[in-house]
């Protein structure tokens, strides 16, 4: 009696997400087959892939929120860079990782607001605004850079009860620092909010057809400013993660183009949060595979080629995926009332 409606719910979910479910199952089966063949290697590689993916997912979501509401954000790279910078130096000077985290995340918010202000309020060319943010971020962070600072603490790890006991997935995804766990929560929440909440509907409407959203009573400009600013929080989180957890340091030009790879992931993921997560993991796994093959001396790829693998993948993915997916219709066009 109890089992029947549950079964129906599962079937409904499966019917609604047929492709996604099938692909996920295939990936899961492949992953666990690999795990039972070589437990150590599969865990290391997945671990590598996830560490590689975390900032990319967060950065891609920054772009996703912006573009879903109609604003292109090319400045993610610069937003991450400044956040990593303040995050690291606040942590290094105060000796408190928490203070560093807050500084980094809030810097992201400020940078997000800055982009929103010039691109939405002043209707500046969104792409130029983003590129300018990147150049300015590089200039400021390299001028104020102080060499020789170190962090005295390490980010703590949390093991999520029950979930962290699952083989393979457990130790990789659920026995992590704050940022990794937060990323999973953020992806799930955003996915729900974007497609199941009033905010999500309004956001998507102002990205697709702002005139219609406006007619229906949505304040498109306010919504875009709020969304792009809040999205900056995620870029800030990505920057703080890179500086405080992943590397534990800061160098000039430290984000290394991740902000742009994230944009490719966003497009590869067709502007869906869950698919962006999958795309980022794919990037991470491809890089992990190349490094592992190199380390095992299976193939002799020069290090320089391993380094350019993410960029090459980005380009290939864009060349083959960009034509197939459709961006939000009004993305890149500034909106002003009476200027339809």
């Amino acid at each position: 009696m109890v089992g029947v409606p549950k079964m129906n719910a599962v079937l409904d979910f499966f019917n609604a997400h047929r492709k996604g479910t099938i692909y996920s199952l295939i990936v899961l089966v492949a992953a666990y087959t690999f795990y039972f063949i070589d437990g150590v290697r599969s865990t290391t590689m997945l671990e590598f892939a996830w560490r590689f993916s975390i900032p990319l997912v967060l950065a891609a979501l920054t772009g996703l929120i912006g573009e879903r509401s109609g604003v292109v954000n090319i400045g993610i790279e610069g937003q991450m860079l400044t956040s990593a910078f303040t995050g690291f130096f606040v942590a290094a000077f105060t000796g408190s990782l928490i203070a560093g985290m807050f500084a980094g995340v809030l810097t992201g918010l400020a940078m997000g607001y800055f982009l929103a202000f010039v691109a939405v309020k002043w209707q500046m060319d969104q792409i130029i605004a983003g590129v300018v943010i990147n150049i300015v971020a590089a200039g400021i962070t390299s001028f104020f850079y102080v060499p020789g600072q170190i962090l005295t603490q390490q980010m703590p790890r949390f093991a999520v009860p029950l979930l962290s006991d699952i083989p393979l997935i457990g130790p990789v995804f659920f026995n992590r620092g704050f940022f990794g766990l937060a990323t999973i929560v953020i992806v799930l929440t955003l996915n729900f909010m974007l497609f199941r909440s009033r905010w999500g509907l309004r956001t998507r409407a102002s990205g697709e057809y702002p005139q219609a959203a406006d007619t229906a009573g949505v304040d498109v400009i306010k919504l875009r400013i709020a969304n792009v600013s809040l999205a900056g929080l995620l870029a800030g989180t990505a920057g703080a993660y890179l500086a405080l957890e992943a590397a534990g340091t800061f160098e000039r030009g430290f984000t290394g183009g991740r902000g742009f790879t994230a944009l490719a992931i966003l497009i590869f993921g067709a502007w869906y949060p869950m698919r962006a997560l999958a795309a980022a993991l794919f990037f991470g796994f491809a890089t992990a595979l190349a490094s592992q093959l190199q380390a095992d001396k299976v193939v002799d790829i020069p290090q320089q080629f391993i380094n350019i693998l993410p960029s090459t993948l980005t380009l290939l993915v864009l060349a083959f995926a960009a034509g197939r997916v459709r961006p939000p219709a009004a993305v890149g066009a500034p909106y002003s009332k009476g200027n339809a």
Binding site: V72, G139, I140, F305, L315
Partner: protein, 370 residues
């Protein structure tokens, strides 16, 4: 009474005329004001470090402009900057934002170095043009990838050129560490180019500088006086009108990226033949990115890239001495340029001064999907 009134009217009308001229030339006025503000902010930051800003700026400009060696260095630095500035400016005309001048410059620099140390039997008057041609072709090829991806696969040029920068750097680092490495060398660098391939100096003026000026003149002529330039500008202004007028959109996009890449490639070639004399890892850094600043400072005007490049070159050339004299990090130049860029590209100043008479910056770049 009446004469007083007349005088007032007169003076206000003179004031109005002057103001009209100021408004008319706001594309020059705005960058100048931006520079003044940037240098003022810079002065505050410098004095926070316990150095007198006057001393710092004096040291910067003196070393860049008031010594033969400094002048030579400044013009040497300006040369590739003019070319990368032009590269970005040409693409701007077509509504493309070429962030990839850096990668195109690197491929050009390597290709010309290769020509320079391979065809050593050629006399100088042949080898120099051949090496520059190789640089231009390599840059054009690298630029055309982004153009093709844009035209036929809808990949936005900002992302593709950024990725192509990384990829170019990776491939080149591999090439100069293995197949093209100077024999018996531990550093990642190619052999030196033949002596007859090195560009001569005319006093403190490197000959490459004239080449850069000629390139600027040719591009200015091309954009304003030729059919091709008209095609570029039309596509940039309104691509639907361009299609309606029978202009082949995809060809124009690819062609503009070829031009853009070739210019950056020539910049790399001149840098190789005139300054580095081989390809070596770590040289040529940042020239392409400064090109973006230069093109935005010049508002996409080919002639404007010359003063803009000179300015950047003066700052870059004086930065090293600045550190030696005052202990201020040379990165202060990055900061000064960043603030200038911010003020020039954001409509802040124009709006504050000219209000509704400010020239509205068009949306020059194209949106996402197209």
């Amino acid at each position: 009474m009446s004469s007083v009134n007349e005088a007032e009217v007169d003076s206000s009308s003179i004031g109005r005329k002057v103001w009209d001229q100021v408004v008319r030339y706001q594309s020059i006025v705005v960058p100048v004001i931006a520079l003044v503000i940037a240098f003022s902010i810079g002065a505050i930051l410098i004095s926070l470090q316990g150095v007198s800003p006057m001393t710092a700026y004096q040291s910067l400009f003196r070393s860049a402009l008031f010594s033969p060696a400094g002048l030579e260095r400044t013009f040497e630095k300006a040369t590739p900057l003019i070319l990368t500035g032009l590269a970005v400016a040409v693409a701007f005309r077509v509504g493309l934002f070429n962030i990839g001048a850096q990668g195109q410059l690197l491929t050009g620099a390597l290709a010309s170095a290769w020509a320079g140390f391979t065809f050593t039997s050629l006399p100088g008057f042949l080898l120099v043009p051949v090496a520059i041609l190789f640089g231009a072709l390599a840059g054009a090829m690298w630029g055309s990838i982004a153009g093709l991806l844009k035209a036929y696969r809808g990949v936005h040029e900002v992302i593709s050129t950024i990725m192509l920068n990384t990829i170019a750097l990776g491939i080149i680092e591999y090439l100069i560490s293995y197949p093209l490495q100077e024999p018996g060398q531990v550093l990642s660098r190619t052999p030196a180019i033949a002596d007859q391939a090195k560009l001569p100096l005319f006093g403190f003026l490197p000959s490459g500088f004239f080449l850069a000026l000629v390139s600027a003149a040719i591009i200015a002529w091309m954009l304003t006086r030729t059919t091709l330039g008209f095609r570029f500008t039309t596509v940039g202004k309104n691509k639907f009108a361009a299609i309606y007028a029978g202009i082949k959109l995809k060809h124009t996009v690819v062609l503009s990226m070829i031009f853009s890449g070739a210019l950056a490639g020539i910049g790399g070639a001149i840098e190789t033949l005139g300054v580095v004399h081989r390809y070596e890892s770590g040289f040529n850094d940042g020239i392409g990115f400064d090109g973006i600043t230069i093109a935005l400072l010049a508002r996409g005007n080919p002639w404007g890239t010359i003063p803009a490049a000179m300015l950047v070159a003066i700052l870059r050339s004086g930065a090293a001495t600045l550190q030696f004299d005052t202990g201020i990090e040379p990165e202060v130049v990055d900061l000064l340029l960043a603030i200038t860029l911010l003020l020039v590209s954001l409509p802040i100043i124009a709006k504050a001064i000219f209000r509704d008479r400010a020239i509205k910056n068009d949306n020059v770049t194209s949106g996402w999907g197209s």
